[in-house]
Assembly symmetry: C2
Homo-oligomer: 161 residues x 2
């Protein structure tokens, strides 16, 4: 990623940071799949991302301030965490998913979470961002009644497997 965007336009600045299609699916898998380790991201990829592509995208996100890489400690693998800027990409992913759901071929089991997020509107997206702040930034847990947004998405996804 370039440090200084090619222009002062916020749309251009965003796409320069988010980059290509592979970058976005890596972010998606970290956010919705809860995958924090290189191996999980590689083996779980629905699109079959290549090892070198995954590696370069993770490095680029760390350099660009969307991810933090927590160094491996004894017996544990390095773990990636979203930064606040990374968490704030969630509305972009939802907008992309909304477009893809209507305009491209998709499958029900990989669309149900998108549908739930759209139905819930910006409030549900904001709630999920707060849950991500707890999981990735160590912010206090979101206190609410009933299952978390992440659990509800996961249950809807599993009900179609």
């Amino acid at each position: 990623m370039r440090n200084e965007p090619r222009s002062g336009c916020p749309i251009n600045a965003a796409v320069e940071s988010l980059g290509d299609p592979w970058s976005v699916v890596v972010l998606r898998d970290i956010i919705f799949g809860g995958r924090r380790h290189f191996r999980e991201l590689l083996s779980g990829s629905e699109e079959g991302i290549a090892s070198n592509v995954l590696s370069s995208r993770l490095k680029s996100f760390v350099a660009g301030g969307l991810l933090v890489r927590e160094e491996a400690v004894r017996g544990q693998r390095a773990r990636y965490s979203l930064t606040e800027a990374g968490i704030q990409t969630l509305p972009v992913l939802v907008a992309l998913g909304s477009w893809g759901r209507v305009n491209r071929p998709t499958t029900p089991e990989l669309t149900v979470r998108q549908q739930l997020l759209e139905d819930g509107g910006p409030e549900l997206v904001a709630e999920l961002m707060d849950e991500l702040r707890h999981l990735h930034l160590g912010a206090p847990p979101v206190t609410g009644t009933g299952p978390s947004v992440m659990q509800r998405l996961q249950e809807a996804y599993e009900s179609l497997q």
Copy 2:
């Protein structure tokens, strides 16, 4: 663009269609800049898009059903129009711009339209999509009082030049 996405996920399907950063800025210039001809898109590019890159992105959008190329008639250049799928990328561009505005370096004159769209919320975005349907799809004009959304954005932009 591949015809069949690599997976059934709507986010992946969207980024496969919208492609790389250059594709998105071309869409942006057609939507917000009202640039419908190759030469305008090339010479007006804030980011200095290269001629061959612009050409390949336009072809890819036509193949992917986001743009229609109206064949050149005597003495006129070929003109590009957004399809309904192309118009529906507007909320994605707004979400991208929203992220870029907060998380990346930008300039006031290229951010003011983004700010207006965010302030107006989904209703203003929907109104602008209706205006685009009139301009690109030949739908009936949007009847309202006062200047169009497009005019308001343009005035805000020009006030900072």
